[in-house]
Symmetry: D2
Subunit: 151 residues, 4 copies
Protein backbone atom coordinates (compact mmCIF):
# COMPACT_ATOMS: atom_id res chain seq x y z
CA UNK A 1 0.00 0.00 0.00
CA UNK A 2 1.35 3.39 -0.90
CA UNK A 3 -0.94 5.74 0.92
CA UNK A 4 -2.62 6.28 4.24
CA UNK A 5 -6.11 4.76 4.57
CA UNK A 6 -9.19 6.92 4.48
CA UNK A 7 -11.87 6.75 7.18
CA UNK A 8 -13.80 4.01 5.41
CA UNK A 9 -10.71 1.84 5.04
CA UNK A 10 -9.67 2.51 8.64
CA UNK A 11 -13.13 1.39 9.73
CA UNK A 12 -12.66 -1.84 7.78
CA UNK A 13 -9.40 -2.40 9.61
CA UNK A 14 -11.10 -1.90 12.97
CA UNK A 15 -13.94 -4.20 11.92
CA UNK A 16 -11.36 -6.86 11.07
CA UNK A 17 -10.17 -6.89 14.70
CA UNK A 18 -12.26 -9.50 16.51
CA UNK A 19 -11.41 -7.98 19.89
CA UNK A 20 -12.59 -4.54 18.84
CA UNK A 21 -15.79 -6.10 17.55
CA UNK A 22 -16.24 -7.93 20.86
CA UNK A 23 -15.96 -4.64 22.74
CA UNK A 24 -18.21 -2.77 20.34
CA UNK A 25 -15.63 -0.19 19.35
CA UNK A 26 -16.23 2.15 16.45
CA UNK A 27 -14.00 4.67 14.72
CA UNK A 28 -15.64 8.08 14.65
CA UNK A 29 -12.82 10.07 13.10
CA UNK A 30 -9.52 9.32 11.40
CA UNK A 31 -7.18 11.67 9.64
CA UNK A 32 -4.69 14.50 9.83
CA UNK A 33 -2.80 13.11 12.79
CA UNK A 34 -5.86 12.23 14.85
CA UNK A 35 -8.14 9.31 15.52
CA UNK A 36 -11.14 8.92 17.80
CA UNK A 37 -12.56 5.62 18.98
CA UNK A 38 -15.85 5.24 20.82
CA UNK A 39 -17.43 2.36 22.71
CA UNK A 40 -20.97 2.29 24.02
CA UNK A 41 -20.57 1.53 27.72
CA UNK A 42 -22.39 -1.71 28.35
CA UNK A 43 -22.44 -3.74 31.52
CA UNK A 44 -20.15 -6.34 30.01
CA UNK A 45 -17.34 -3.74 30.02
CA UNK A 46 -17.59 -3.17 33.78
CA UNK A 47 -15.47 -4.16 36.72
CA UNK A 48 -17.11 -5.26 39.95
CA UNK A 49 -18.38 -1.89 41.11
CA UNK A 50 -20.21 -0.76 38.01
CA UNK A 51 -17.42 1.35 36.56
CA UNK A 52 -15.76 0.69 33.23
CA UNK A 53 -12.90 -1.75 33.72
CA UNK A 54 -9.47 -0.13 33.50
CA UNK A 55 -8.60 -2.72 30.88
CA UNK A 56 -11.24 -1.23 28.57
CA UNK A 57 -9.68 2.21 28.96
CA UNK A 58 -6.22 0.81 28.26
CA UNK A 59 -7.57 -1.05 25.20
CA UNK A 60 -9.12 2.18 23.96
CA UNK A 61 -5.91 4.14 24.49
CA UNK A 62 -3.77 1.43 22.87
CA UNK A 63 -5.98 1.26 19.78
CA UNK A 64 -6.55 5.00 19.44
CA UNK A 65 -2.79 5.59 19.64
CA UNK A 66 -2.27 3.03 16.86
CA UNK A 67 -4.93 4.52 14.61
CA UNK A 68 -3.74 8.09 15.16
CA UNK A 69 -0.25 7.07 14.08
CA UNK A 70 -1.80 5.30 11.12
CA UNK A 71 -2.99 8.64 9.74
CA UNK A 72 0.59 9.80 9.18
CA UNK A 73 2.62 6.72 8.46
CA UNK A 74 2.63 4.26 5.62
CA UNK A 75 2.53 0.61 6.49
CA UNK A 76 1.20 -1.28 9.46
CA UNK A 77 1.20 0.70 12.69
CA UNK A 78 1.78 -1.23 15.88
CA UNK A 79 1.74 0.34 19.30
CA UNK A 80 5.17 -0.37 20.76
CA UNK A 81 4.26 0.74 24.24
CA UNK A 82 2.38 3.32 26.22
CA UNK A 83 1.83 4.74 29.67
CA UNK A 84 -1.62 5.44 31.05
CA UNK A 85 -2.79 7.25 34.17
CA UNK A 86 -6.33 6.77 35.38
CA UNK A 87 -7.89 9.96 36.69
CA UNK A 88 -11.24 8.90 38.10
CA UNK A 89 -13.63 5.96 37.92
CA UNK A 90 -15.21 5.84 34.48
CA UNK A 91 -18.96 5.80 34.13
CA UNK A 92 -21.36 7.06 31.51
CA UNK A 93 -22.99 6.23 28.20
CA UNK A 94 -20.02 6.27 25.88
CA UNK A 95 -16.27 5.88 26.24
CA UNK A 96 -14.31 8.07 23.87
CA UNK A 97 -10.59 7.81 23.22
CA UNK A 98 -9.14 10.65 21.21
CA UNK A 99 -5.51 10.32 20.16
CA UNK A 100 -3.27 12.76 18.35
CA UNK A 101 0.20 12.51 16.86
CA UNK A 102 2.73 14.63 18.71
CA UNK A 103 5.69 13.82 16.53
CA UNK A 104 6.05 11.60 13.49
CA UNK A 105 9.67 10.55 13.26
CA UNK A 106 11.35 8.36 10.69
CA UNK A 107 10.93 5.16 12.62
CA UNK A 108 8.38 5.87 15.30
CA UNK A 109 5.42 8.09 16.02
CA UNK A 110 4.69 9.48 19.47
CA UNK A 111 1.05 10.17 20.30
CA UNK A 112 -1.02 11.34 23.22
CA UNK A 113 -4.50 10.13 24.02
CA UNK A 114 -7.31 11.43 26.19
CA UNK A 115 -9.93 8.92 27.31
CA UNK A 116 -13.24 10.34 28.46
CA UNK A 117 -16.75 9.25 29.26
CA UNK A 118 -19.81 10.96 27.84
CA UNK A 119 -23.01 10.96 29.84
CA UNK A 120 -26.61 10.99 28.68
CA UNK A 121 -26.53 14.78 28.32
CA UNK A 122 -23.40 14.73 26.20
CA UNK A 123 -21.18 16.01 29.00
CA UNK A 124 -17.61 14.78 28.64
CA UNK A 125 -15.47 13.80 31.65
CA UNK A 126 -11.81 12.95 31.29
CA UNK A 127 -11.07 9.59 32.92
CA UNK A 128 -7.56 8.71 31.72
CA UNK A 129 -4.61 10.15 29.84
CA UNK A 130 -2.02 8.21 27.94
CA UNK A 131 1.02 8.69 25.78
CA UNK A 132 2.73 6.11 23.66
CA UNK A 133 4.92 5.19 20.77
CA UNK A 134 3.84 3.50 17.58
CA UNK A 135 6.21 1.83 15.19
CA UNK A 136 5.63 0.65 11.65
CA UNK A 137 6.00 -3.03 10.90
CA UNK A 138 7.55 -4.63 7.89
CA UNK A 139 5.18 -6.03 5.26
CA UNK A 140 2.61 -8.50 6.58
CA UNK A 141 3.91 -11.77 7.95
CA UNK A 142 3.85 -14.72 5.61
CA UNK A 143 0.42 -16.24 5.53
CA UNK A 144 -1.35 -13.14 6.81
CA UNK A 145 -2.93 -11.32 3.87
CA UNK A 146 -3.08 -7.56 4.20
CA UNK A 147 -6.28 -6.11 5.49
CA UNK A 148 -7.80 -3.06 3.84
CA UNK A 149 -5.35 -0.22 4.02
CA UNK A 150 -2.36 -2.53 4.18
CA UNK A 151 -2.49 -2.85 7.93
Amino acid sequence: MTSVPDLAQAREILAAQPFSDLLGARLVSFGAGEATLELPIRARLHQQHGFVHGGVLSYAADNALTFAAGTVGVGRPLTAGFAIDYLRPATGEILRARAAVIRAGRTRVVCRCDVATIDGDGVETLCAVAQGTVSFALPPDAGAPPVAGGW
Copy 2:
Protein backbone atom coordinates in the same frame (compact mmCIF):
# COMPACT_ATOMS: atom_id res chain seq x y z
CA MET B 1 -12.73 -5.96 55.76
CA THR B 2 -9.71 -6.41 57.93
CA SER B 3 -7.63 -8.91 56.05
CA VAL B 4 -6.35 -9.70 52.61
CA PRO B 5 -8.54 -12.08 50.56
CA ASP B 6 -7.51 -15.67 50.01
CA LEU B 7 -7.37 -17.22 46.55
CA ALA B 8 -11.01 -18.31 46.63
CA GLN B 9 -12.19 -14.83 47.57
CA ALA B 10 -9.93 -13.24 45.00
CA ARG B 11 -11.45 -15.53 42.38
CA GLU B 12 -14.90 -14.37 43.44
CA ILE B 13 -13.78 -10.79 42.91
CA LEU B 14 -12.52 -11.59 39.43
CA ALA B 15 -15.72 -13.43 38.64
CA ALA B 16 -17.66 -10.36 39.67
CA GLN B 17 -15.96 -8.33 36.93
CA PRO B 18 -18.12 -8.64 33.82
CA PHE B 19 -15.23 -7.60 31.56
CA SER B 20 -12.94 -10.28 32.98
CA ASP B 21 -15.69 -12.81 32.44
CA LEU B 22 -16.15 -11.60 28.86
CA LEU B 23 -12.45 -12.17 28.20
CA GLY B 24 -12.37 -15.53 29.94
CA ALA B 25 -9.77 -14.53 32.51
CA ARG B 26 -9.01 -16.76 35.46
CA LEU B 27 -6.84 -16.26 38.52
CA VAL B 28 -4.35 -19.08 38.86
CA SER B 29 -2.42 -17.79 41.85
CA PHE B 30 -2.82 -15.06 44.43
CA GLY B 31 -0.79 -14.39 47.53
CA ALA B 32 2.47 -13.29 49.07
CA GLY B 33 2.92 -10.29 46.84
CA GLU B 34 2.10 -12.07 43.59
CA ALA B 35 -0.85 -12.75 41.33
CA THR B 36 -1.12 -14.62 38.04
CA LEU B 37 -3.97 -14.24 35.57
CA GLU B 38 -4.49 -16.48 32.57
CA LEU B 39 -6.73 -16.22 29.53
CA PRO B 40 -7.26 -18.97 26.97
CA ILE B 41 -6.38 -17.31 23.66
CA ARG B 42 -9.48 -17.46 21.54
CA ALA B 43 -10.04 -15.85 18.17
CA ARG B 44 -12.27 -13.21 19.71
CA LEU B 45 -9.20 -11.78 21.47
CA HIS B 46 -7.31 -11.20 18.24
CA GLN B 47 -6.44 -8.17 16.20
CA GLN B 48 -6.62 -8.31 12.41
CA HIS B 49 -3.55 -10.46 11.80
CA GLY B 50 -4.28 -13.34 14.11
CA PHE B 51 -2.22 -12.12 17.04
CA VAL B 52 -3.63 -11.29 20.44
CA HIS B 53 -4.79 -7.68 20.47
CA GLY B 54 -2.50 -5.37 22.44
CA GLY B 55 -5.57 -4.28 24.39
CA VAL B 56 -5.88 -7.79 25.80
CA LEU B 57 -2.27 -7.69 26.98
CA SER B 58 -2.82 -4.28 28.56
CA TYR B 59 -6.01 -5.55 30.23
CA ALA B 60 -4.10 -8.52 31.61
CA ALA B 61 -1.27 -6.33 32.91
CA ASP B 62 -3.69 -3.81 34.44
CA ASN B 63 -5.66 -6.51 36.26
CA ALA B 64 -2.67 -8.60 37.34
CA LEU B 65 -1.01 -5.47 38.79
CA THR B 66 -4.20 -4.74 40.74
CA PHE B 67 -4.51 -8.27 42.10
CA ALA B 68 -0.82 -8.50 43.04
CA ALA B 69 -1.17 -5.31 45.08
CA GLY B 70 -4.30 -6.77 46.61
CA THR B 71 -2.24 -9.49 48.25
CA VAL B 72 -0.45 -6.97 50.45
CA GLY B 73 -2.87 -4.15 51.04
CA VAL B 74 -6.12 -3.93 52.90
CA GLY B 75 -9.02 -2.35 51.12
CA ARG B 76 -9.91 -1.96 47.50
CA PRO B 77 -6.91 -1.89 45.16
CA LEU B 78 -7.20 0.25 42.06
CA THR B 79 -4.51 0.50 39.43
CA ALA B 80 -3.60 4.19 39.30
CA GLY B 81 -1.53 3.88 36.19
CA PHE B 82 0.98 1.73 34.38
CA ALA B 83 3.43 1.60 31.52
CA ILE B 84 3.62 -1.34 29.14
CA ASP B 85 6.10 -2.25 26.42
CA TYR B 86 5.16 -4.83 23.84
CA LEU B 87 8.05 -7.11 22.95
CA ARG B 88 6.74 -9.26 20.10
CA PRO B 89 3.41 -10.24 18.54
CA ALA B 90 1.53 -12.50 20.94
CA THR B 91 0.33 -15.87 19.77
CA GLY B 92 -0.26 -19.19 21.49
CA GLU B 93 -2.73 -21.17 23.55
CA ILE B 94 -2.77 -19.20 26.78
CA LEU B 95 -1.93 -15.66 27.81
CA ARG B 96 -0.38 -15.45 31.24
CA ALA B 97 0.16 -12.24 33.20
CA ARG B 98 2.29 -12.64 36.28
CA ALA B 99 2.59 -9.60 38.52
CA ALA B 100 4.65 -9.06 41.66
CA VAL B 101 4.81 -6.32 44.26
CA ILE B 102 8.09 -4.45 44.18
CA ARG B 103 7.36 -2.11 47.04
CA ALA B 104 4.32 -1.72 49.26
CA GLY B 105 4.32 1.83 50.58
CA ARG B 106 1.87 3.48 52.92
CA THR B 107 -0.32 4.88 50.19
CA ARG B 108 0.63 3.06 47.05
CA VAL B 109 2.06 -0.20 45.83
CA VAL B 110 4.42 -0.49 42.88
CA CYS B 111 4.32 -3.73 40.91
CA ARG B 112 5.92 -5.23 37.86
CA CYS B 113 4.20 -7.60 35.46
CA ASP B 114 5.41 -10.01 32.81
CA VAL B 115 2.93 -11.00 30.13
CA ALA B 116 3.68 -14.17 28.20
CA THR B 117 2.07 -16.60 25.85
CA ILE B 118 2.17 -20.35 26.37
CA ASP B 119 2.06 -22.62 23.36
CA GLY B 120 0.65 -26.11 22.99
CA ASP B 121 3.86 -27.63 24.36
CA GLY B 122 3.86 -25.45 27.43
CA VAL B 123 6.68 -23.24 26.16
CA GLU B 124 6.46 -19.72 27.54
CA THR B 125 7.36 -16.65 25.45
CA LEU B 126 7.48 -13.20 26.96
CA CYS B 127 5.37 -10.77 24.92
CA ALA B 128 5.10 -7.66 27.11
CA VAL B 129 6.45 -6.15 30.30
CA ALA B 130 4.74 -3.61 32.47
CA GLN B 131 5.15 -1.70 35.67
CA GLY B 132 2.54 0.26 37.53
CA THR B 133 1.20 1.77 40.67
CA VAL B 134 -1.82 0.63 42.63
CA SER B 135 -3.55 2.75 45.22
CA PHE B 136 -6.12 1.75 47.78
CA ALA B 137 -9.53 3.35 47.60
CA LEU B 138 -11.65 4.52 50.47
CA PRO B 139 -14.57 2.31 51.51
CA PRO B 140 -16.95 1.41 48.69
CA ASP B 141 -18.89 4.21 47.07
CA ALA B 142 -22.39 4.75 48.28
CA GLY B 143 -24.70 2.31 46.65
CA ALA B 144 -21.99 -0.12 45.68
CA PRO B 145 -22.04 -3.02 48.11
CA PRO B 146 -18.66 -4.61 48.78
CA VAL B 147 -17.80 -7.66 46.76
CA ALA B 148 -16.21 -10.63 48.43
CA GLY B 149 -12.94 -9.60 49.99
CA GLY B 150 -14.06 -6.02 50.41
CA TRP B 151 -12.90 -5.00 46.98
Copy 3:
Protein backbone atom coordinates in the same frame (compact mmCIF):
# COMPACT_ATOMS: atom_id res chain seq x y z
CA MET C 1 1.55 25.65 55.71
CA THR C 2 -2.02 26.40 54.78
CA SER C 3 -1.73 27.77 51.29
CA VAL C 4 -0.03 27.22 47.99
CA PRO C 5 3.27 29.09 47.50
CA ASP C 6 3.48 32.12 45.27
CA LEU C 7 6.09 32.43 42.53
CA ALA C 8 8.67 33.99 44.82
CA GLN C 9 8.31 31.22 47.39
CA ALA C 10 8.37 28.55 44.70
CA ARG C 11 11.62 30.07 43.42
CA GLU C 12 13.05 29.83 46.93
CA ILE C 13 12.15 26.15 46.98
CA LEU C 14 13.90 25.59 43.66
CA ALA C 15 16.92 27.53 44.88
CA ALA C 16 17.06 25.24 47.89
CA GLN C 17 17.56 22.22 45.64
CA PRO C 18 21.31 21.81 45.17
CA PHE C 19 20.81 19.68 42.05
CA SER C 20 18.63 22.32 40.41
CA ASP C 21 21.26 24.91 41.22
CA LEU C 22 23.95 22.67 39.73
CA LEU C 23 21.98 22.45 36.49
CA GLY C 24 21.17 26.16 36.41
CA ALA C 25 17.39 25.68 36.45
CA ARG C 26 15.10 28.61 37.01
CA LEU C 27 11.35 28.84 37.51
CA VAL C 28 9.80 31.22 35.01
CA SER C 29 6.15 30.71 35.89
CA PHE C 30 4.18 29.04 38.65
CA GLY C 31 0.49 29.15 39.33
CA ALA C 32 -3.00 28.15 38.32
CA GLY C 33 -2.14 24.55 37.58
CA GLU C 34 1.00 25.28 35.60
CA ALA C 35 4.73 25.61 36.09
CA THR C 36 7.54 26.31 33.65
CA LEU C 37 11.21 25.57 34.28
CA GLU C 38 14.04 26.77 32.07
CA LEU C 39 17.70 25.86 31.89
CA PRO C 40 20.29 27.66 29.79
CA ILE C 41 21.82 24.91 27.66
CA ARG C 42 25.49 24.81 28.52
CA ALA C 43 28.06 22.31 27.36
CA ARG C 44 28.10 20.65 30.77
CA LEU C 45 24.53 19.43 30.13
CA HIS C 46 25.48 17.59 26.95
CA GLN C 47 25.91 13.97 26.06
CA GLN C 48 28.75 12.90 23.81
CA HIS C 49 27.39 14.25 20.53
CA GLY C 50 26.66 17.80 21.56
CA PHE C 51 22.97 17.31 22.28
CA VAL C 52 21.39 17.84 25.66
CA HIS C 53 21.64 14.65 27.69
CA GLY C 54 18.34 12.79 28.02
CA GLY C 55 18.88 12.86 31.77
CA VAL C 56 18.59 16.65 31.72
CA LEU C 57 15.25 16.41 29.90
CA SER C 58 14.01 13.82 32.38
CA TYR C 59 15.18 16.01 35.29
CA ALA C 60 13.31 18.95 33.79
CA ALA C 61 10.14 16.93 33.29
CA ASP C 62 10.32 15.42 36.79
CA ASN C 63 10.76 18.81 38.43
CA ALA C 64 8.23 20.68 36.28
CA LEU C 65 5.62 17.99 37.02
CA THR C 66 6.29 18.41 40.74
CA PHE C 67 6.04 22.18 40.65
CA ALA C 68 2.88 22.18 38.51
CA ALA C 69 1.21 19.92 41.06
CA GLY C 70 2.46 22.21 43.77
CA THR C 71 0.26 25.00 42.41
CA VAL C 72 -2.90 23.10 43.31
CA GLY C 73 -2.08 21.02 46.34
CA VAL C 74 -1.21 21.86 49.89
CA GLY C 75 1.82 20.22 51.39
CA ARG C 76 4.96 18.82 49.91
CA PRO C 77 4.57 17.57 46.36
CA LEU C 78 6.69 14.60 45.32
CA THR C 79 6.68 13.13 41.86
CA ALA C 80 5.64 9.51 42.32
CA GLY C 81 6.51 8.48 38.82
CA PHE C 82 6.38 9.54 35.20
CA ALA C 83 6.79 8.37 31.64
CA ILE C 84 8.78 10.32 29.08
CA ASP C 85 9.16 9.93 25.34
CA TYR C 86 12.02 11.65 23.56
CA LEU C 87 11.02 13.08 20.20
CA ARG C 88 14.27 14.34 18.69
CA PRO C 89 17.79 15.24 19.79
CA ALA C 90 17.68 18.39 21.89
CA THR C 91 19.82 21.34 20.92
CA GLY C 92 19.46 25.08 21.33
CA GLU C 93 19.96 27.95 23.74
CA ILE C 94 17.39 27.17 26.38
CA LEU C 95 15.59 24.07 27.57
CA ARG C 96 12.04 24.77 28.66
CA ALA C 97 9.80 22.33 30.52
CA ARG C 98 6.20 23.38 30.77
CA ALA C 99 3.94 21.23 32.93
CA ALA C 100 0.23 21.46 33.56
CA VAL C 101 -2.15 19.73 35.94
CA ILE C 102 -4.60 17.47 34.14
CA ARG C 103 -6.48 16.31 37.20
CA ALA C 104 -6.04 17.11 40.88
CA GLY C 105 -7.50 14.24 42.85
CA ARG C 106 -7.75 13.80 46.58
CA THR C 107 -4.50 11.92 46.92
CA ARG C 108 -2.62 12.46 43.72
CA VAL C 109 -2.27 14.91 40.88
CA VAL C 110 -1.74 13.87 37.27
CA CYS C 111 0.19 16.28 35.07
CA ARG C 112 1.52 16.46 31.54
CA CYS C 113 4.75 18.15 30.53
CA ASP C 114 6.17 19.36 27.24
CA VAL C 115 9.93 19.78 27.05
CA ALA C 116 11.24 22.00 24.28
CA THR C 117 14.39 23.74 23.19
CA ILE C 118 14.49 27.39 22.22
CA ASP C 119 17.03 28.55 19.71
CA GLY C 120 18.76 31.89 19.37
CA ASP C 121 15.82 33.29 17.41
CA GLY C 122 13.32 32.27 20.03
CA VAL C 123 11.97 29.37 17.93
CA GLU C 124 10.62 26.57 20.08
CA THR C 125 11.06 22.89 19.14
CA LEU C 126 9.40 20.14 21.12
CA CYS C 127 11.95 17.52 22.16
CA ALA C 128 10.13 15.35 24.72
CA VAL C 129 6.70 14.78 26.20
CA ALA C 130 5.95 13.36 29.60
CA GLN C 131 3.11 12.55 31.90
CA GLY C 132 3.29 11.72 35.55
CA THR C 133 1.72 11.52 38.95
CA VAL C 134 2.55 13.65 41.94
CA SER C 135 1.58 12.77 45.46
CA PHE C 136 1.61 14.91 48.58
CA ALA C 137 3.83 13.84 51.44
CA LEU C 138 3.04 13.99 55.10
CA PRO C 139 4.57 16.84 57.10
CA PRO C 140 8.35 17.13 56.79
CA ASP C 141 10.40 14.25 58.13
CA ALA C 142 11.80 14.63 61.59
CA GLY C 143 14.91 16.70 61.47
CA ALA C 144 14.16 18.27 58.10
CA PRO C 145 12.84 21.78 58.64
CA PRO C 146 10.33 22.98 56.06
CA VAL C 147 11.66 25.06 53.24
CA ALA C 148 9.84 28.19 52.15
CA GLY C 149 6.33 27.27 51.13
CA GLY C 150 6.25 24.21 53.35
CA TRP C 151 7.81 21.95 50.75
Copy 4:
Protein backbone atom coordinates in the same frame (compact mmCIF):
# COMPACT_ATOMS: atom_id res chain seq x y z
CA MET D 1 31.84 0.10 14.00
CA THR D 2 31.16 -3.59 13.68
CA SER D 3 31.08 -4.82 17.22
CA VAL D 4 29.78 -3.98 20.64
CA PRO D 5 32.15 -1.96 22.85
CA ASP D 6 33.97 -3.58 25.70
CA LEU D 7 33.92 -2.15 29.23
CA ALA D 8 36.89 0.11 28.63
CA GLN D 9 35.36 1.58 25.49
CA ALA D 10 32.01 1.97 27.17
CA ARG D 11 33.73 3.87 29.96
CA GLU D 12 35.27 6.18 27.37
CA ILE D 13 31.80 6.86 25.99
CA LEU D 14 30.51 7.71 29.45
CA ALA D 15 33.52 9.94 30.07
CA ALA D 16 32.73 11.77 26.84
CA GLN D 17 29.34 12.80 28.23
CA PRO D 18 29.84 16.13 29.99
CA PHE D 19 26.62 15.70 31.97
CA SER D 20 27.67 12.31 33.28
CA ASP D 21 31.01 13.81 34.28
CA LEU D 22 29.22 16.66 36.04
CA LEU D 23 27.21 14.14 38.08
CA GLY D 24 30.21 11.95 38.81
CA ALA D 25 28.77 8.83 37.19
CA ARG D 26 30.93 5.80 36.59
CA LEU D 27 30.26 2.55 34.74
CA VAL D 28 30.96 -0.41 36.98
CA SER D 29 29.86 -3.20 34.65
CA PHE D 30 28.92 -3.52 31.00
CA GLY D 31 28.25 -6.62 28.99
CA ALA D 32 26.00 -9.56 28.26
CA GLY D 33 22.80 -7.57 28.28
CA GLU D 34 23.54 -5.63 31.45
CA ALA D 35 25.05 -2.36 32.56
CA THR D 36 25.50 -0.83 35.99
CA LEU D 37 26.10 2.85 36.66
CA GLU D 38 27.08 4.27 40.03
CA LEU D 39 27.23 7.80 41.37
CA PRO D 40 28.71 8.81 44.71
CA ILE D 41 25.89 10.66 46.44
CA ARG D 42 27.15 14.17 47.11
CA ALA D 43 25.21 17.09 48.44
CA ARG D 44 25.09 18.70 45.02
CA LEU D 45 22.80 15.88 43.86
CA HIS D 46 20.19 16.59 46.53
CA GLN D 47 16.79 18.17 46.52
CA GLN D 48 15.76 20.48 49.33
CA HIS D 49 15.30 17.89 52.06
CA GLY D 50 18.62 16.10 51.83
CA PHE D 51 17.44 13.25 49.63
CA VAL D 52 18.80 12.55 46.16
CA HIS D 53 16.84 14.57 43.61
CA GLY D 54 14.42 12.50 41.55
CA GLY D 55 16.08 13.95 38.46
CA VAL D 56 19.32 12.18 39.40
CA LEU D 57 17.48 8.87 39.65
CA SER D 58 15.81 9.46 36.28
CA TYR D 59 19.20 10.39 34.75
CA ALA D 60 20.69 7.19 36.14
CA ALA D 61 17.83 5.07 34.82
CA ASP D 62 17.92 6.76 31.38
CA ASN D 63 21.66 6.24 31.02
CA ALA D 64 21.77 2.71 32.43
CA LEU D 65 18.97 1.67 30.05
CA THR D 66 20.97 3.10 27.14
CA PHE D 67 24.18 1.36 28.13
CA ALA D 68 22.47 -1.98 28.78
CA ALA D 69 21.00 -1.89 25.28
CA GLY D 70 24.42 -0.97 23.99
CA THR D 71 25.75 -4.36 25.08
CA VAL D 72 23.55 -6.15 22.55
CA GLY D 73 23.12 -3.79 19.66
CA VAL D 74 25.47 -2.42 17.08
CA GLY D 75 25.45 1.29 16.49
CA ARG D 76 24.50 4.22 18.64
CA PRO D 77 21.93 3.41 21.30
CA LEU D 78 19.52 6.17 22.24
CA THR D 79 16.87 5.83 24.89
CA ALA D 80 13.58 6.47 23.10
CA GLY D 81 11.57 6.70 26.28
CA PHE D 82 11.05 5.20 29.69
CA ALA D 83 8.75 5.07 32.68
CA ILE D 84 10.02 5.36 36.23
CA ASP D 85 8.32 4.85 39.57
CA TYR D 86 9.93 6.21 42.71
CA LEU D 87 9.60 3.87 45.66
CA ARG D 88 11.02 5.82 48.59
CA PRO D 89 13.21 8.84 49.24
CA ALA D 90 16.77 8.06 48.20
CA THR D 91 19.59 8.53 50.67
CA GLY D 92 22.92 6.83 51.17
CA GLU D 93 26.53 6.78 50.02
CA ILE D 94 26.16 5.55 46.47
CA LEU D 95 23.40 5.50 43.88
CA ARG D 96 23.45 2.39 41.73
CA ALA D 97 21.40 1.90 38.58
CA ARG D 98 21.44 -1.64 37.23
CA ALA D 99 19.76 -2.18 33.88
CA ALA D 100 19.18 -5.37 31.93
CA VAL D 101 17.92 -6.13 28.45
CA ILE D 102 14.56 -7.86 28.47
CA ARG D 103 14.23 -8.26 24.73
CA ALA D 104 16.46 -7.19 21.89
CA GLY D 105 14.30 -6.81 18.81
CA ARG D 106 15.31 -5.85 15.32
CA THR D 107 14.67 -2.17 15.77
CA ARG D 108 14.42 -1.60 19.47
CA VAL D 109 15.58 -3.01 22.76
CA VAL D 110 13.41 -3.09 25.87
CA CYS D 111 15.21 -2.93 29.20
CA ARG D 112 14.37 -2.79 32.87
CA CYS D 113 16.34 -0.88 35.47
CA ASP D 114 16.53 -1.00 39.25
CA VAL D 115 17.85 2.09 41.00
CA ALA D 116 19.09 1.62 44.53
CA THR D 117 21.07 3.41 47.19
CA ILE D 118 23.93 1.77 49.07
CA ASP D 119 24.67 2.89 52.56
CA GLY D 120 27.96 3.01 54.44
CA ASP D 121 27.62 -0.66 55.40
CA GLY D 122 27.01 -1.76 51.83
CA VAL D 123 23.30 -2.35 52.40
CA GLU D 124 21.31 -1.84 49.21
CA THR D 125 17.84 -0.26 49.23
CA LEU D 126 15.72 -0.11 46.11
CA CYS D 127 14.53 3.45 45.48
CA ALA D 128 13.11 3.37 41.95
CA VAL D 129 12.24 0.99 39.14
CA ALA D 130 12.12 1.81 35.48
CA GLN D 131 11.51 0.24 32.13
CA GLY D 132 12.24 1.70 28.76
CA THR D 133 12.94 1.33 25.10
CA VAL D 134 16.22 2.01 23.35
CA SER D 135 16.54 2.45 19.63
CA PHE D 136 19.63 2.48 17.48
CA ALA D 137 20.42 5.62 15.54
CA LEU D 138 21.73 5.86 12.02
CA PRO D 139 25.41 6.66 11.58
CA PRO D 140 26.57 9.76 13.42
CA ASP D 141 25.05 13.05 12.31
CA ALA D 142 27.09 15.09 9.94
CA GLY D 143 29.74 16.98 11.84
CA ALA D 144 29.61 14.72 14.89
CA PRO D 145 32.60 12.39 14.80
CA PRO D 146 32.04 8.98 16.39
CA VAL D 147 33.13 8.58 19.97
CA ALA D 148 34.96 5.47 21.04
CA GLY D 149 32.79 2.47 20.38
CA GLY D 150 30.93 4.20 17.57
CA TRP D 151 28.37 5.73 19.84
